[in-house]
């Protein structure tokens, strides 16, 4: 079986606890992937450089939704700087660049997407949420 469809990812895909509309978000960033039809929108509320709330809406494959959801779990309550750093590490992981053990560990649950670096057809799904995050925090 394709290792990417791990319990963790399927769990996020199913629970959808981060799939919700925020009231008055500060940032709304739509990410889409014309080839697959993934179309997800990330919403953030940022106060004093802290991501105080985040959620997403839209439709997409299991990988794009799980990655978005795991990302939200990871950055919610954290500083903008922290989120940017994680995004940078995540993108480097997907590009197949070698990470320090520290860096890899710091990705926590998002490590589940490591094998996307050998699945170019799906890498765009896994990075969609992170691209939304990066754009929002620019």
């Amino acid at each position: 079986m394709n290792s990417i469809y791990s319990e963790l990812i399927l769990e996020h895909n199913k629970s959808k606890h981060n799939k919700r509309e925020l009231d008055h978000p500060d940032h709304v960033e739509r990410g889409h992937n014309p080839n697959c039809g993934d179309d997800l929108t990330l919403q953030l509320i940022v106060k004093d450089n802290i991501i105080v709330d985040a959620g997403y809406i839209g439709s997409g494959c299991a990988i794009s939704q799980a990655s978005m959801s795991i990302m939200i779990d990871m950055v919610k309550g954290e500083t903008v700087a922290f989120a940017k750093e994680k995004a940078d590490i995540f993108f480097r992981m997907i590009r197949g660049e070698s990470l320090t053990e520290e860096e890899l560990e710091s990705l926590e649950d998002a490590i589940a997407f490591e094998s996307l670096n050998r699945m170019p057809a799906r890498a765009k799904c896994g990075t969609l949420g992170w691209h939304c995050l990066e754009e929002s925090l620019k």
């Binding site: 079986m1 469809y5 080839n35 697959c36 039809g37 439709s59 997409g60 990988i63 057809a121």
Partner: protein
């Protein structure tokens, strides 16, 4: 000999179940060998030289033109133009003919089932002021009768696919082209999904223009065909210009060679034409009737099997004699890309996405779908394995 054994890739990889034949076909050994033979024995620049390799390359190229002529029952070799793929053929029509001839009060009528390549070249000309209309189909792919009224006395050109790569419907080309004839519109048929699967006879189909790609019919990549009825094609303006399509060139103006050279600029792809010629031979060796019988049987088998499963939603024709050798479907609650990825891990190659048919998808209110498409080498066993793998996908997502 099993049909599968004609295809080296499938022989070398017994584990691979290739069900993406509508995207591109696998190549028979005879086609691959002929390419090697060409480069090892005959390679030269066609049309130009007096030396033996150039002469032979020219002969191979022109014999290929004759082979295509016979294969699609064209009247004359000059009616066959070689391009790089069906997409370029369609662009040639748009840039070389429509752009010069259409009037702003006219309209072009496209089937909503058209592939992007059979839509965008016309959209690109919309600044000329004409109207772009669509023939809508119902969910089985049939045009409603009233739709054909969109074809009227101002219709310049009508274009549709013989088989939709998006939902597999075999269109009733005759009814559409009869209506086009009644108003004097140009009739363009996209035969990319038909050639190699069914008889494609430009006379019987009553097409003015017809396009297809070699790579979808057992030929190599990089070669496509435009057929045009001679009197019409001869009014085409040059599209790509440059070497080999001219008569006289002066600094400021040029005169052009007659058909077919006029529409083929630069050094042509002899390898591609030869591969295509061998692919035609391959098809004729096996026989279109046999190919069709095998594919129809498989399509029925797969359709019945999938239909009996409530978790699977099938799109397109319900009457199987209206369906080409492909089935688009979705597994409920599962995104098609996830289905395709998991099937891939079981060595089953299918396609997921919009299949270059976004307007159709939008019309049918679909985001994206899975597609399995068959060829003569597929077997019931392939379909059983497909179905077992779909059950694995269910386990992943439903349990």
């Amino acid at each position: 000999m099993l049909y599968r054994d004609y295809f080296p890739l499938l022989k070398h990889h017994p584990e691979i179940i290739y069900l993406d034949n509508a995207a591109t076909s696998q190549k028979p050994e005879s086609v691959i060998n002929e390419i090697v033979h060409y480069y090892e024995e005959h390679n030269g620049s066609p049309h130009r030289g007096a030396h033996i390799l150039s002469v032979r390359s020219t002969e191979i190229y022109e014999r290929g033109r004759d082979a295509v002529r016979d294969f699609i029952h064209a009247n004359r070799s000059e009616e066959i133009i070689f391009t790089r793929n069906a997409t370029e053929s369609l662009n040639l029509i748009a840039y070389g003919y429509v752009m010069h001839e259409i009037k702003s009060h006219q309209n072009i009528v496209l089937s909503i089932t058209n592939h992007h390549s059979n839509i965008l070249p016309f959209q690109q000309l919309k600044h000329l002021g004409f109207e772009l209309r669509y023939l809508y189909c119902d969910e089985t792919g049939q045009f409603l009768d009233s739709e054909l009224d969109k074809i009227d006395e101002n219709t310049f050109l009508v274009s549709l696919p013989i088989i939709s790569n998006g939902i597999g419907v075999i269109h009733d080309v005759k009814s559409v082209f009869d209506k086009a004839d009644a108003v004097g519109a140009i009739k363009l048929l996209d035969a990319a999904q038909g050639v190699g699967h069914m008889e494609v006879d430009v006379q019987a189909l009553n097409a003015d223009l017809l396009v297809f790609s070699g790579h979808k019919m057992f030929g190599p990549q990089g070669i496509g065909v435009l057929y045009g009825r001679y009197e019409l094609l001869d009014t085409f303006h040059p599209f790509l210009t440059g070497g080999d399509m001219i008569e006289y060139v002066t600094e400021q103006t040029s005169s052009f060679a007659p058909l077919p050279e006029r529409l083929e600029a630069g050094t042509q792809n002899v390898e591609g034409v030869l591969g295509l010629t061998k692919a035609i031979e391959f098809i004729e060796e096996i026989g279109l009737k046999n190919i069709h019988a095998v594919e129809a049987e498989l399509t029925t088998y797969a359709y019945e099997k999938m239909k009996s499963d409530d978790a699977i939603e099938i799109y397109g024709p319900t009457e199987l004699n209206h369906r080409g050798a492909l089935i688009t479907f979705n597994l409920k609650e599962v995104h098609p890309h996830d289905v395709a990825s998991i099937l891939d891990s079981h060595h089953i190659a299918i396609r997921a996405g919009h299949h270059c048919c976004q307007p159709l998808m939008h019309h049918l209110n679909l985001q994206s779908t899975c597609r399995v498409s068959f060829s003569v080498f597929n077997t019931r066993d392939d379909i059983d394995k497909l179905y077992n793998a779909i059950n694995e996908v269910k386990k992943v997502f439903y349990e």
